[in-house]
Subunit: 714 residues, 2 copies
């Protein structure tokens, strides 16, 4: 555990000295003095130090720090040229001032010279115990106590909206953006904007906020992580005190890392390790500044859903469908409304309204505000509902204003949070009404659902979502067997069809007896594979109908008998046409899967993917509607997530991707010539090292009944 410095004298100082406060208009110094003189509730004296004895404004001017009257000074606000800062800080240390806020720029962010000054200041701190905040920062903004140790001209406005949020940023622009995002809702109480964080940094500020009883939520924009272990300790402190920490980390791509480095001179750290640390220590990581604002607002306003089950209530079927879609895509649930809620909705709404979640009250119903409010309240009070999402698709002027009023009225009394989404770029009076009442309408469904998801307590998320990243859902639909009665042929026949279509398959012959099989195997050369041939058996391994790696004629004979016996026992109904004996390929090839199935909407679709162990595990596949050509096939292969499997890999030479693409093109041609084929599976397709080709080792072809009762798919 780390000892964090006690920052109470820094945050809420009694006596303050300003070094470099200027009275030249429109300078940062002047703004700083104005904030102290006119907009702060000072607890003690403000001294201004200026050798020329000018510029103190309403405050008395002194020639030097040494010349100040005796007595404790808590903070020095330093706003002189970079080259003078070190001397000023030396004087501060001599005068036993514990904290200095250095707002001046011109340090590490400008290059090596600035870095040198920072190193000297750091040495001074280590030696004297002086703690420095900054440099290169707009100051420390204490709204809660109305002490504006900042040159920002917005301080007076900031201090008018005090709330339970503690904000930590490095740069000023991002922080200003966030503060503006808190308008009309719970505001910030303290904003630390530590610039280059030469000495005091984000961990110290987070720890302070974690201990501060007026702060409930901590929002952080991190450009770099200088002291990872200290950061972890601060995060643990926040967690122990039950305060959520919402963090935007810059530097998740190389460009971001470099830009953040040159901005604040700090190191971004490995993106994935940062992410793991956030997860480990309970931080809510967000993806963008607007999301930081949105998530922090929901938490600070105590509008966090109690569960991962949302209700959607709107007056547009399309908006309902879209909102439901995003809910599912983000791994959240649609609440099942209780019979009580449904009864209420049924009683209040017209017959053609959709009362099951997503609830579409229809545009008819919004003509009565009372009805709308009562529906919103009923849904929000449903014990299965964690929050109510209310998408407003467009601005319909007065009508939408009435809807907004209903949302405002309902939200005031609702049992769970009501969260409006204003989906139109036209933000009319209805939007303003929601905004004024602190409901902070989202302006995008995807952003709304993503933000809500971040505020759901992790334990309340569905199990699959708790640990897994969103959006990684495996495709729902691999080639499944068609639901139309189709006929298959046995593998030997299927292979013969392929051979005639110039699609490479292994050399192989159908054997009718054990002797014949042994003879065929000898002719092909060992090792061979043996597989039961039957039009009634679609999955040969399931009936123990396959033997691989057979090395001798004796083994062939045994395998033949074994296959007949086992298959006969397991599938006495199936007509067995013999056993297919095939030459085996060496195991230096890659296994791929190729399939065709008939999609309800688009007709026949080809699928290619990684085969073998990968099929069930990863479902790494790509699709194209038939017909395709070789160029399409190459694109399909390029789309595979783990296409690297076909590259140079663990000592394997690159796979013969050209041959695979040729094979796909030929299979497409073949299928186009046979419109009756509804489904086919070639699994595995063996793809050898470059130059060795690609072969369909197995083939299953299902055709629509000949009588034409089923429309062919092309």
């Amino acid at each position: 555990m780390f000892d964090f410095p006690d920052l109470s004298r820094l945050v809420r100082p009694r006596n303050i000295v300003v070094v470099g406060g200027s009275q030249r208009p429109n300078t940062e110094g002047a703004f700083l003095l104005e904030n102290l003189a006119s907009h702060s509730k000072l607890l003690g004296e403000v001294y201004v130090v200026n050798p020329s004895m000018k510029g103190g404004g309403t405050f008395q001017c002194w020639p030097s720090l040494a010349a100040l009257p005796p007595g404790p000074i808590d903070v020095a606000l330093v706003i002189v040229r970079a080259s003078l800062v070190l001397d000023v800080l030396r004087d501060c240390a001599l005068r036993e001032i514990p904290f200095a806020i250095v707002m001046s720029s011109g340090f590490a962010e400008t290059g090596p010279e600035g870095k040198t000054i920072e190193a000297e200041i750091a040495a001074l701190c280590a030696e004297t115990g002086l703690r420095v905040y900054g440099p290169n920062c707009p100051g420390l903004t204490n709204m809660r106590d109305t002490i504006g140790m900042t040159f920002s001209t917005a301080f007076a406005a900031d201090a008018a909206n005090v709330g339970p949020i503690g904000l930590v940023t490095q740069g000023g622009g991002a922080g200003r953006s966030v503060i503006q995002g808190f308008a009309n809702g719970p505001g910030a109480g303290l904003w630390f904007s530590g610039g280059n964080e030469l000495d005091l940094g984000a961990p110290d500020f987070i720890a302070h906020l974690a201990m501060d009883p007026t702060i409930e939520v901590i929002a952080v924009v991190l450009e770099g992580v200088k002291h990872g272990k200290r950061l972890i300790a601060a995060l643990e402190l926040a967690r122990a005190n039950g305060k959520p920490v919402v963090t935007l980390k810059v530097g998740r791509s190389e460009y971001g890392v470099r830009a953040a480095q040159s901005h604040t001179g700090s190191i971004a750290g490995a993106a994935e390790i940062n992410k793991a640390v956030f997860r480990q220590f309970g931080v809510i990581e967000v993806d963008d500044l607007d999301e930081l604002v949105a998530v922090t607002r929901l938490l600070a306003a105590r509008r966090r859903p109690a569960s991962a089950s949302l209700a959607i209530l709107t007056f547009s079927g399309g908006a309902a469908a879209m909102a439901a879609d995003h809910t599912g895509m983000q791994g959240l649930q649609l609440a099942e409304l209780t019979s009580q809620t449904l009864a209420h909705l049924k009683a209040v709404l017209p017959g053609f309204a959709a009362i099951h979640n997503p609830v579409d009250v229809t545009s008819e119903a919004v003509k009565s505000i009372d009805a709308l409010v009562s529906c919103l309240c009923a849904v929000a009070a449903d014990p299965h509902v964690g929050a109510v999402l209310v998408p407003v698709p467009a601005d319909y002027g007065e009508a939408t204003e009435r809807i907004a009023q209903a949302i405002v009225d309902a939200a005031a009394n609702a049992a769970s949070p009501i969260i409006p989404v204003w989906m139109s770029r036209r933000q009319g009076a209805g939007f303003d009404l929601l905004e004024r009442h602190g409901l902070a309408p989202f302006t995008s469904l995807s952003k709304a659902v993503a933000a809500i998801r971040k505020t759901v307590p992790r334990a309340a998320l569905p199990a699959a979502v708790q640990t897994r990243a969103v959006g990684a859902e495996a495709p729902r639909h691999a080639a499944g067997l068609t639901d139309i009665a189709c006929t298959a042929c046995n593998e030997a026949t299927a292979k013969q069809m392929l051979r005639e279509a110039d699609i490479p398959v292994p050399a192989g012959i159908l054997a009718g007896s054990a002797d014949e099989a042994a003879e065929i195997a000898a002719g092909l050369g060992f090792p061979v594979a043996m597989k039961v041939a039957s039009a009634q058996i679609l999955h040969k391994t399931e009936v123990d109908g396959v033997r691989l790696g057979i090395d001798s004629q004796e083994q062939v004979a045994a395998a033949y008998a074994g296959i007949l016996e086992r298959v006969g026992a397991l599938r006495p109904d199936a007509r067995i046409d013999g056993v297919l004996v095939e030459k085996m390929f060496h195991d230096g090839g890659r296994e791929m899967l190729v399939g065709i199935h008939t999609d309800e909407a688009f007709g026949r679709v080809m699928t290619v993917g990684l085969g073998g162990i990968f099929v069930e595990l990863m479902k790494d596949v790509s699709h194209r509607v038939l017909p395709i050509r070789k160029a399409d096939a190459l694109e399909m292969i390029g789309e595979l997530r783990y296409g690297a499997y076909l590259g140079e890999f663990r000592g394997h030479a690159p796979a013969d991707v050209e041959a695979l693409a040729d094979l796909l093109g030929k299979i497409s041609e073949f299928a186009m010539k046979h419109p009756e084929i509804r489904e086919a599976e070639f699994n595995p397709v063996w793809v050898g090292p470059t130059g060795e080709g690609a072969f369909a080792l197995d083939a299953l072809i299902l055709s629509a009944p000949a009588e034409g009762a089923v429309p062919t798919s092309v």
Copy 2:
């Protein structure tokens, strides 16, 4: 190829009949008549049919369709109760009216009865050749020719902003939202909102727009896909005519599928097949309605970047870093500015500005509007720049208004698009200025960069991004060797350390000679593994120092000699301590990888992931900062993308995840007792079926030098 119907008489009719137009105020019928009477440029007659001969407004009323005067009628607008629609349509067919727009609701969207009526109408269409648009829709909005065949009260406003966009939606709410999004920019020329699409549907409308010379971009909201093959043909037509199609598809999650179905009675289709079709036929698929608007606007305003290389220009270092971050995360590039551009920026900007992309002109520079405009124009004119992103982090009142004016001025003459991002929720006068000038500021960096990426021509994207989904980037950092000089011990010593820490390793003994090895092997039982033991050899396979699956004492002796010979030849410098002989496990276990490395920011981090073939291919790993306990270990395992590998799988029993978690916990304890360990790799860790445990089959441990020059990491 499909024959699409010629919709020109539907879209731009001369004579129109309205069936059911009412004059009761505030009814849809009244609004429709108002749109025709007051806001349309009619090309022919409008007849109103109403048996009671009331309600025609300015138009003449007729008792029935049969009673109408002779002469061609192009379109019937039908707005009567659902139960009357079939009869009206029969009369339309008799009167040889080619098209009917049915706005009434109460059809498939309400249940089986409505579906029955739809089926009867469909049969009528098939029989008579009548083509029906709708039902359950707000009509057809022709802004281009100012013909308002819709009951929307917004028609007059819509028709005031005509542009090259063709819009196709099903529901009215989503379409209204999109139309509102086109304000102050290129508007829509035609909006098809086909409701239930009982007969005419999205493919017909897209095909019409593809052929219409006044349309340049086609925006589509699809809830369902009824006729996939027709849709494909329409998309091909659009592509052949060079018109981008931007599509939002509802139904990407189960919830969305169900909600869209109940809204429009249409089938959503398999999400992944839809996605594949869009990709195959060149559709730009977007994720949300706001993105549909944004992408369509960029295309319609010809503000599509020419390349995937962005410039970022802002006055906030934080905003620059964030924008750069999103650029990288979306797989776009930061343009390298030419020396000419850099020289210009250097001449115009203060010395402390960052002139390399991302350009931070600093808040100082924005005081001169001329300078800002000149910088923007210079960057936009740079031949390496495809578009200029201008993030405005916060609203600073007048100052931001000046910046907005500079953006407007620069955009008017810029060689490449200048795209502002207004990052604050406070949208002041500056925002309004940008909006009024059609620059449609984004309100979120992530959304802005995502939209820009969608508009970049696919061929202009970096190769890796062309085919692969965004966000699937493999972690940059697996356990790599530390850059601090560390000492290793040989594997036998490492295993002994593990054994003492109660971490399961295979039974094994270090052999000093071939005979000794054979004896050890016999004692352990075959098969055994043999591995060179040397503190200098970190990667034993690379020097051919490993033999697996050794089955007999003779093989042991040969392997011993072979290892010494090969390793001696390849690494004559290495001191060889002997050969480790170990009992092998059966191959029914899973291979996992466990590692520890020292992170610059956070100290020692544990990594667990899928081993074997998966390590290089998928880098499926999760991380935790040390120390961890078993519960953390279980969480780590749960976070693996393909954790299913440890489940029941291809006939394997589930793996012993408990034992793996125990092992991870013990490795953490071990590492905490040895702060000098900077890096360790246990690869593979063998995880047997449940009950058989988990064992570190290999162990590499690197420790910091003893002299303490290097700080230990805990």
